[in-house]
Symmetry: C2
DNA sequence: GCGTTACTAGTCAAACTTGATTACCGAACG
DNA sequence: CGTTCGGTAATCAAGTTTGACTAGTAACGC
């Protein structure tokens, strides 16, 4: 599954009530168009789909205050909130090399209590290690790694990536345990959305060199 | 773009002529179902689509020799071969955190001349470095990284990942320059396909722990 | 006043992906 | 000798993603 649902749920939730264009802008503000499939079509589709499934409720709303077609505002439901936390927890816990889900979940990690965040990340490290040994057992067969030829480099890449991630996760755990950031129930939360009318410093358009999306 | 087209083109090409089920088995043999969207539906869809676009030609073929419906065999065309090499080169060169494309391209890297492989990988490192500095400039604003709060951890993750990849790429370059593997024009190539009737040691079914696909 | 540009907000068809399901055949079983 | 089982090979409907496109309003220059 892609990260679009998690991102959209998170954006709507932080606003309380948001229309599609607002969500679209938030995701852009988070840089999500760089590392996930957060494109207009996908965003509007996700909104409609999740409204149909009861994770959001759609309010029909009067014409836009700033030009353009009339907008629909969305609000997250109880079920939507549950799904949101389920997705955050799952993405933090499980290792499956899906960069977009992982990044999105980091963006929402402070919505959890600090202790739970740390516990989930530790669980993640255990997952990486289990995956690591399962790969080395499974794919580096008795005949020795030479049997695989250059294909072995793919596994090499996986392992290298997994190790790098474990290392980064370890660092994050340390920072969180050291008191960094403001987690759920610890006072004034960090606000990661654009206020109405605020200008987006990271607007679409410029690509990073080397990108080929 | 996903890696499915590259994978399918590569599989058909290594066989000379292959039917869908054969391709499906090869991809499984390569472990592609673990790290890409190489599922039956996608494979058959890609075959049909690319046949329609002239990258493959479809031969209608008599009923299967081993049960099941009649099979269609595919053969790669000139245009398909061009597209194949274009995809390999692009995936090796450009940094865009798409794990599946990268893995697939490593699997086909020995189809290029050794010198070109090294050149592309060096280009890749340059790309990673350019991307790295563009991210640090762009997303770590004047106000200092604190302004971003925990969102800064996402960029931290990106950078960490990029660095790990640059390191791995460097290692691969060294191994290739040191004479590892057999590249195009260097004699007996490594064969990464299953022979007709050969058993697949890495068949589907067992998942690695920690996976959540 | 009036065209032109720019921004807001969303839609749409075409392509792709997914997971389940179908259809066919051979072999084993009782 | 029918029937159930397992492997082969592919299809299908439902859902998702993409990139281009539409349509409305405001603001600007002249």
């Amino acid at each position: 599954m892609s990260a679009i649902r998690l991102l959209v749920l998170g954006a709507v939730r932080q606003h309380g009530r948001a229309h599609g264009y607002q969500v679209r802008n938030d995701l852009e503000y988070w840089g999500a168009h760089e590392w996930s499939n957060a494109k207009p079509g996908s965003i509007y589709h996700a909104l409609k789909q999740m409204a149909k499934q009861g994770l959001l409720i759609a309010h029909e709303i009067a014409p836009s205050t700033a030009g353009g077609p009339p907008r629909t505002e969305y609000e997250i439901t109880e079920a939507g909130t549950e799904e949101y936390f389920r997705l955050v927890r799952e993405a933090l816990t499980s290792y499956d090399q899906q960069t977009d889900m992982k990044s999105a979940a980091i963006g929402f990690i402070v919505e959890l209590p600090r202790a739970e965040a740390v516990a989930l990340l530790k669980e993640r490290i255990r997952g990486i290690e289990a995956w690591r040994s399962s790969v080395t057992e499974h794919y580096v067969p008795d005949a020795g790694p030479e049997q695989l030829g250059h294909i072995g480099e793919i596994m090499n890449l996986w392992l290298h990536t997994a190790d790098a991630e474990a290392e980064w996760t370890q660092g994050l755990i340390a920072r969180i345990e050291g008191g960094a950031y403001t987690f759920a129930g610890e006072g004034e939360p960090f606000v990661g959305v654009l206020a109405e009318g605020e200008e987006n410093p990271y607007a679409t358009g410029e690509k990073h060199p080397g990108d080929t999306h």
